[in-house]
Every structure is written in structure tokens, then in C-alpha cells.
């Protein structure tokens, strides 16, 4: 690979991470709670995307490509780990300075509950709901997961129902 190709690849990689890095970090949080484990999983995803990038032919968007690789990596991670994620530590949040400390605490608690509830979902529901929460369309989700749009609609509906039920149990 020539130096020019490498630089183009590096630029593409930078672009993907600037645009989708935070979303990929949130994805890892749906699989791992402890910050150390989450960061390890994120590094695995970053490396997997780097490795897969030369074979990316532009047959889908960079977002779809990045999430497809990330989800495959997360599945491998779940398969290797072989147990449910723990739920002690949470993702960092950027506090809104306009809100009172009480409101911030309530918001933070609600977000933590949502994150824990997502982690409690079965993997196939977790995949579809995390992608939907990242503003992905059913067609994009279908492309990431390699399933049909109908399948995405069914899974998303079930995932929402399951998530709602977990959230009602954890007020």
C-alpha cells in the first residue's frame, strides 16, 4: 500500500471517528458497565474498524460500515465473555449548566436506569434498540445487522416492549 493510500485511509478513519466515535462509545456501554472493560471493548472496535477499512468498497455509508464492524465485534465479545454485563458504573455525561442540581440528579438517574435496562435486554433486542436510539432508519439498521427491514420492525417493536417493561420494574 502506498503512502498516499495510507494517508487517505487514515483520513477516512479520522472522519469515521469524529462522526461516530461517541455513538460507538455508547454502544460499548450497552455491553459493558465497568469503564475499564468498556474502554477495552472500544479499543477492540477501533482496531477492528481499522483492519476492515481497506476492504470497505463504499457499498454502504461509512456509518453503516462502522456499526456493522462494531456490532460483529460486540457479538464476539459477548460470545467470549459468556455472561451478562455488570451494571455498577455508568457512562460519563456532560451536565447542562442551565439546570439546577436537583434536575441534573433526576436526569442522571433516569439515564442510568435507561442504560441499565438496555444492558438487561437480550442481545438481539439490544442491537436493534441501540441503533434506533442513534437515529438510524430501519433500512440502515437492516444493513448493519444483515436482516430484512420487516425483521427490524418486528424486533424493534419487541425490544421497545421489553425495555418498557424493564423500566416499569425499575422506577
Amino acid at each position: 500500500m502506498s503512502s498516499v493510500d495510507r494517508r487517505a485511509l487514515a483520513a477516512q478513519y479520522e472522519r469515521i471517528f469524529e462522526a461516530h466515535g461517541p455513538a460507538l462509545l455508547r454502544l460499548t456501554a450497552s455491553y459493558e458497565a465497568p469503564p475499564q472493560a468498556r474502554e477495552d471493548l472500544l479499543q477492540e472496535i477501533l482496531l477492528a474498524i481499522w483492519r476492515a477499512l481497506p476492504s470497505f468498497r463504499g457499498d454502504c455509508s461509512e456509518k453503516t460500515f462502522a456499526f456493522r464492524v462494531a456490532h460483529n465485534r460486540c457479538l464476539t465479545h459477548v460470545w467470549r465473555r459468556g455472561k451478562s454485563p455488570q451494571s455498577e458504573a455508568e457512562l460519563p455525561e456532560v451536565p447542562d449548566p442551565r439546570k439546577s442540581p436537583e434536575t441534573l440528579a433526576i436526569d442522571s438517574r433516569r439515564r442510568e436506569t435507561l442504560l441499565a435496562a438496555i444492558r438487561a435486554l437480550p442481545v438481539n433486542y439490544r442491537q436493534v434498540i441501540t441503533l434506533a436510539l442513534e437515529d438510524m432508519t430501519p433500512a440502515e439498521i437492516a444493513a448493519v445487522l444483515g436482516v430484512t427491514e420487516n425483521n427490524v420492525a418486528v424486533r424493534l417493536n419487541r425490544a421497545r416492549k421489553a425495555l418498557r417493561s424493564i423500566l416499569e420494574e425499575r422506577p
Binding site: M1, S3, R6, R7, L9, A10, Y13, F17, G21, P22, L24, L25, R26, A29, E39, D40, L42, Q43, L46, L47, W50, R51, P54, L91, P92, E93, V94, D107, R110, R111, L114, L115, I118, T130, A132, L133, E134, D135, R160, L163, R164
Partner: protein
């Protein structure tokens, strides 16, 4: 709450989670080599444990059948196990820690580890060939002396060798792919 409002509320809460430090979204070779080190240590421990089990089992088996044939068999197992364990330890020497705490040093260490794995693979192929030769000679002798049925041995041995060869080739492909990815990372990380 309607379905769409509910999803929108979840979406807002979900996307409020943002990385506290942008640096955590970058590839960190130091973290990667540390994780590799943990895997390497675990892998080596597994290999040595397996070797210890093989030594104990062959010693016990030969002691319950103290004939020349089984003592020779145990000796071959012991020699093979000591060779494999010694090679595994020697092959990893010098690849446990980076020379310095720079990205270039971490990438170099990672590359060294891949090269060592490829060396282990070449030795693994020879080791497999030697094992095959020993087993073939042994079975031929067994057949000539005792007229044991060859078919089950043939199929079991063939399947084992095919599986081992497929694993070695898959492993080689994986390591070569890692080496290529590391080569591309050089320019990008530093």
C-alpha cells in the same frame, strides 16, 4: 405516552451520554499491547497446564502397563511436551514489555509478537509432521504385529491432522492480517 414520543425521550437520554475525554475515542496502542499481554500470559499458562496434564497422564498410563512399548510411548510424549513447552516460553521471551512507552514502541512490540507467532507456526507445522511420522510408523508396526483394524485409527488420525492443519492455516492468515494492519498503523498513530 405515544410510541414515538417514548422513543424520542429514550433517544434524548441515550444521546446525552458523551465521552468525557475525546482521547478515549482514539486507538491506543499501549492499551492494545497490554491486553495482548494478558491474553499471551493466559495462553502460555494454558499451554503449560496442558503440558503438565499430558506428562502426568502419560506417566500414570505407562506405570500401569510397564512394557517397552508403553514406556517408549511415554518417553515420546515427555520429549514432545518438554520441547513444546520450552519452545513456547523461549519464543515469547522479550515480547512481554515494550522498550519504551511510545506508540512506536508499542506497535513494534505488537509486530514482534506477530512475527514470533508466525515462527511458532512454522515450528508447529514441523512438529505436526514429526508427530504424523511417529504415529504412522507406530500404527504400521501395530498393524503388522497385532493385525489391529486400521480403519478407525486412519479416520481418527486423519481427522485430527486435518483439523490441526486447518487451525494452523487459519492462525497464519490471522497473524499476517494483523501484521498488515500494524504496518498501516505506523504512519497514522505517531
Amino acid at each position: 405516552m405515544s410510541m414515538d414520543l417514548e422513543l424520542a425521550a429514550w433517544r434524548t437520554d441515550w444521546q446525552a451520554h458523551q465521552p468525557s475525554d475525546a482521547a478515549m475515542l482514539r486507538l491506543d496502542p499501549g492499551r492494545l499491547v497490554e491486553r495482548e499481554r494478558r491474553k499471551m500470559a493466559l495462553g502460555l499458562f494454558g499451554q503449560l497446564l496442558f503440558g503438565a496434564v499430558m506428562l502426568a497422564f502419560s506417566a500414570w498410563f505407562a506405570s500401569t502397563r510397564p512394557t517397552l512399548e508403553w514406556i517408549l510411548w511415554a518417553a515420546v510424549i515427555w520429549a514432545g511436551t518438554f520441547f513444546a513447552a520450552g519452545f513456547a516460553v523461549w519464543n515469547k521471551a522479550g515480547t512481554w514489555k515494550a522498550m519504551s512507552q511510545s506508540n512506536a514502541a508499542f506497535l513494534d512490540l505488537s509486530r514482534q509478537r506477530c512475527l514470533r507467532e508466525l515462527r511458532a507456526l512454522r515450528i508447529g507445522r514441523w512438529f505436526l509432521a514429526v508427530q504424523l511420522a511417529i504415529v504412522a510408523a507406530w500404527l504400521s508396526w501395530d498393524y503388522a504385529v497385532r493385525r489391529l483394524p486400521m480403519r478407525p485409527y486412519f479416520f481418527a488420525g486423519g481427522a485430527t491432522i486435518l483439523l490441526a492443519a486447518a487451525y494452523l492455516e487459519w492462525f497464519a492468515l490471522r497473524e499476517r492480517r494483523s501484521l498488515r494492519a500494524l504496518g498501516r498503523l505506523d504512519e497514522f498513530v505517531d
